[in-house]
Each structure stands twice: as structure tokens, then as C-alpha cells.
């Protein structure tokens, strides 16, 4: 489990060093003035797409001997509403869940407010979703 913390720390460090925790970098991307972060995302997506394709073709196994835990997320109607809300929040705060955590670590204390909002609503929506799932029969 210490390794998980280590990977988290690496991710946070990379997000910070790549400038993803910078409010103005996000704003710059949405204003099309600074495409740095779009470049970061595009590079990561391209590299990962090639890697995932190769790993899947070779049926590579993870270190624990099992098949790689790669799963595509399902298409749901509520994805549309969620996607729009998320995008609005992303632009307003200049951060997403991962970078908000890294911001807090960096000592950008205002991120505490963002994180509080994220935690409250993520927990509430999850509770609501699991109740809705119990009420209706399973299946998407």
C-alpha cells in the first residue's frame, strides 16, 4: 500500500511540475491563449493509446500475474449533464479533482475550498446514485 501512496506522490509531483496546478494555465487553455496543457494532455493520450493497444495485443499481465485492469467507462444519459457541469466547474476553479489535491500540497490554500466542494458533492451524488440503483433493477 505504500507503493500506492508513492504512485500518488509521483502523479502529484508531475501534475505540479507540468503546470497543471496553475489557474492561469487552465484559463489560458480555455481562452486559446496558452495551449501548454492541451499539449500535455494530447501527448499523454497519444502515448497511452499506443501503449494500451500494444499491451492489449500482447495480452500483457500486470506484476500481480492478472490481466491488466483496463475497462472502458459506460455510456449513460446522465453523462451529458455531468460532463457539462464538470466543464463549468473546471473552468471556474481552474482545477480538476487531481490538481486540486496537488494544489493543496503545494500550499495553495484556496484549494481547500475547492476540495471541500468536490468532496461534499461527490459524496452526495454517489449516495444518491447508489440509492437510485437499489430502487430500480440493475442494468444500464
Amino acid at each position: 500500500m505504500a507503493k500506492i501512496v508513492g504512485f500518488g506522490a509521483l502523479f502529484g509531483f508531475v501534475l505540479s511540475r507540468a503546470g497543471a496546478t496553475d489557474y492561469d494555465a487552465i484559463r489560458g487553455m480555455f481562452l486559446l491563449r496558452d495551449l501548454h496543457l492541451a499539449g500535455v494532455m494530447a501527448t499523454a493520450i497519444a502515448l497511452l493509446a499506443v501503449s494500451f493497444a500494444l499491451l492489449r495485443r500482447r495480452a500483457t499481465r500486470a506484476l500481480n500475474g492478472q490481466g491488466l485492469a483496463l475497462a472502458s467507462k459506460p455510456m449513460t444519459p446522465r453523462l451529458v449533464l455531468g460532463g457539462l457541469l464538470f466543464g463549468a466547474g473546471w473552468a471556474l476553479s481552474g482545477t480538476c479533482p487531481g490538481t486540486a489535491l496537488a494544489q493543496l500540497g503545494e500550499g495553495r490554500l484556496a484549494a481547500l475550498a475547492t476540495l471541500a466542494g468536490i468532496l461534499v458533492s461527490a459524496t452526495t451524488v454517489e449516495a444518491w446514485q447508489s440509492r437510485a440503483k437499489q430502487a430500480s433493477p440493475p442494468g444500464h
Partner: protein
């Protein structure tokens, strides 16, 4: 000053609960927060820790947890060693002392985190031969006197890992050893160090009160949590010390600036993100994603399922990583948030706006089934239609919102 004093409460809590960690906290507190020179800080910490652990020792001894037969010879040897170390310390440069301190802390933290299996044999008697006890005592004492650590973070592991003493007894016995050798080390410093008495006395009193309090509740805390808390505390402070040292040692080099100070080029950033995602997948077989963990984080207090999940740990790691980046890059804590400070005036409205935006982010991500990491980086790379759609929506809403803000604000 007030900050420093209130932080000294933690010194007492650590000593009373964990039987160590006092000087680990006291030395950085004195040097970095209160600006005391390294050697004076080391000497002061010895006094603070000596008095504090003596007080905590009384509470623990009443509970019958102190193993005197081991503690006394160990302590005698440690006093000798500490006096020697304290005398030699004036010939060693400060940076070497602090680096030594950092290295020692990291290795101790790792040993404590890994030591699970050993200490489960908790009822085995501690019957190491006297010569071993004395030898360990000498070594621990010398190191402690040298770097000004009372040495609890070495003594507790020595008793637990080498001798198989139960955690609670090791904590109590370590307090005996710490107070003996702290006073000895203090005497070793007396001749050649100036003390900031006005700072040291109130800190000692506060830490002592906290340690007595902690000694009273120590019985109710699980030993397993004690050890983990101890290890992580030590690790965190070590990170802080080492980062500070690295910066003052290499801060002027251009390679250092490229890696730790300037923003990475976009392609390096993308490469690094991909590397972390692949590492996490291959080593731990986990698919990178942050927002599902946010929901689990909120359920942490009342859901055992969330507590055993990998996600909250991963999220905690992200905070740690940001901290390391800021420490190495030389960024101090701040309330500023880039040009948002020009869009919204005043701290309270800014925090309110961020909280509201956070509500949109958290709920939106859970409804959408992922966020920037899960959908826009991993999902798209997997070729999932849902993730491409989600990413498109994120972007469209992001563009629209930014434009709207710009329009409402009259064009900044």
C-alpha cells in the same frame, strides 16, 4: 512565535503517544519556523525533549509499562554515546548534520512501516544479552547527541524490531532512555552554545502538559495505528528537511532549475503523466482515476470498504507529491490563485466561488463517471466512446464558461 508555541504541543503529543519524535519535530520547528540557528536549536530541543519525556515517563511508569531492566543499561550507554556525540558536533558543518538527520529519519520510517510482522510476536520476553543492549545504547546515543535527536525514533524501533518488545512497552521504556540521554547531550552542548531561553521555557511547559495528556490516552490507542502514525510523521518531516537541504545545496545549478523550478515543456509533462499511468497499471494493476476516490474520501469516516480501498491512499499521495514539488521549487504557502484574484476581489468571495465550482466538479464527475484523469486521459486512450464524449462536453462547457465569465466581467 504563537505558531511555534502551538506547534510545540505536537512535540508533547508525539512523545507521550509514540515515545519519540520529539526532537524530530523540535529541531525543524526551531530552525525553520522560529529561525533559531541549527546548533542552538539542537541543544534547545534536547532540553525540551528531556523535560517532556521525563513527565510522560511518570505517567507510563504508573501504568507499569516501563521495562527498567532493559531501559536503565540502554540509557546509561546512550548517555555516554550522546555526550560524545554532543561534543563532536561542533566540528561538523550544519548541512552535513541536517542531511544525516534526514537520512536517518527516512530509514527509520521505512523500517517502522515494514516492521509489521516482527512486532506481532508481542508477548515474547525482551531478553537480549546485556552486551547487545549496551552496544545498541552506545550507537543510538552517539547518533542522537550528534544530530540532536533524543533518539526515540531509533530507540523504539531498536526495542521493537531487534528485541521484539511490544509497542506500548517500547514507547514507555524509550521515554526513560530519551530523558537520560537528552540531559546528557544537553550538558555536552552547554559549554559552547547560546540558548534562546525565552523561547525554550514556554515551549517546554506546553510540550510537557501535552505529553502528560497523551500518556493518559495512550492506553486506548491501537499499537498498530501508533506505529503507522509514528512512521508517517517521521517520513513527512524527513521530506521537509531533505528538500530544504537539497535546495540550499543545489539551488544555484541550472539542471536543478530545469527539473524543479521551471515549468516542464508540454511534451515532457505528457510523457511523465503517461509514465505514471503505465507504472500504476503495471505495478499495482490499477487504472488511473481520481474522482471515484473523492467519493470514497467523503465516505471514509463510516465505510470500512472505503477505508481499505487504494484510492484514498493514492489521493493522499497526490497531496504529498504537490508538497514535494513546492518544497523543492521553493514555493511558500499562499492564498493567491493566479489571475482569479483579479476577477474576484476579497478572500471570502473567492473561497465561495471555488467552493461552488468544487460542487460542480465533484457532482459532475460522479454523474459523468470520471474526470480529467479517468475520462480525458485514460478513457480516451482506451478509445471509449463515452470518454471522448465526456471530454468533448468538458471542453465545450469549459470554453463557454470562460467566455461567459469574460463577458460578464467586461473583458479582462
Amino acid at each position: 512565535m504563537i505558531l511555534g508555541l502551538s506547534l510545540s504541543v505536537f512535540i508533547g503529543l508525539a512523545l507521550g503517544l509514540l515515545g519519540g519524535g520529539g526532537s524530530i519535530l523540535a529541531v525543524p520547528l526551531l530552525t525553520y519556523v522560529l529561525g533559531v540557528p541549527t546548533k542552538a536549536a539542537i541543544a534547545s530541543s534536547l532540553l525540551i525533549v528531556g523535560v517532556t519525556s521525563l513527565a510522560a515517563l511518570v505517567t507510563h511508569a504508573r501504568n507499569g509499562l516501563v521495562v527498567w531492566g532493559t531501559g536503565l543499561p540502554f540509557g546509561m550507554a546512550a548517555m555516554l554515546g550522546a555526550y560524545g556525540g554532543g561534543t563532536v558536533t561542533q566540528f561538523v558543518p550544519d548541512s552535513v548534520l541536517l542531511l544525516l538527520f534526514g537520512a536517518m529519519m527516512v530509514s527509520t520510517a521505512v523500517a517502522m512501516l515494514r516492521g509489521k510482522a516482527v512486532s506481532r510476536t508481542s508477548d515474547a520476553p525482551y531478553d537480549a544479552p546485556l552486551s547487545n543492549i549496551v552496544l545498541h545504547g552506545l550507537g543510538v546515543g552517539a547518533l542522537a547527541g550528534l544530530v540532536g535527536a533524543g533518539g526515540g525514533f531509533l530507540i523504539v524501533p531498536a526495542l521493537v524490531l531487534l528485541g521484539g518488545m511490544p509497542m506500548r512497552k517500547a514507547v514507555a521504556t524509550s521515554l526513560l532512555v530519551i530523558s537520560m540521554q537528552s540531559f546528557a547531550g544537553f550538558v555536552g552542548h552547554l559549554g559552547h552554545t547560546a540558548f534562546p531561553w525565552l523561547l525554550v521555557l514556554p515551549m517546554t511547559i506546553l510540550a510537557t502538559l501535552a505529553s502528560v495528556l497523551a500518556g493518559l490516552v495512550a492506553k486506548k490507542v491501537r499499537p498498530e495505528s501508533l506505529r503507522r502514525g509514528f512512521a508517517w510523521l517521521v517520513m513527512l518531516v524527513a521530506l521537509f528537511v531533505v528538500a530544504h537541504q537539497a535546495r540550499s545545496a543545489f539551488g544555484h545549478a541550472s539542471l536543478y532549475a530545469i527539473v524543479f523550478e521551471q515549468r516542464w515543456p508540454w511534451w515532457i509533462g505528457g510523457l511523465a503523466v503517461a509514465a505514471v499511468a503505465l507504472g500504476l497499471l503495471f505495478v499495482e494493476n490499477k487504472q488511473l482515476g481520481v474522482s471515484a476516490g473523492c467519493g470514497e474520501l467523503g465516505r471514509l469516516p463510516h465505510s470500512p470498504e472505503a477505508r481499505s480501498s487504494w484510492r484514498p491512499r493514492f489521493l493522499g499521495g497526490i497531496v504529498l507529491g504537490g508538497m514535494v514539488a513546492a518544497l523543492l521549487g521553493g514555493h511558500a504557502p499562499t492564498l493567491a490563485m493566479g489571475s482569479l484574484d483579479q476577477l474576484v476581489h476579497g478572500t471570502a468571495p473567492k473561497l465561495a466561488l471555488l467552493f461552488g465550482a468544487g460542487l460542480l466538479i465533484g457532482g459532475g464527475a460522479r454523474l459523468a463517471g470520471g474526470c480529467t484523469s479517468g475520462h480525458s486521459i485514460i478513457g480516451t486512450a482506451l478509445g471509449a466512446r463515452a470518454s471522448w464524449l465526456a471530454t468533448g462536453l468538458f471542453m465545450v462547457a469549459g470554453f463557454a464558461t470562460t467566455r461567459l465569465v469574460l463577458f460578464l466581467h467586461g473583458g479582462v
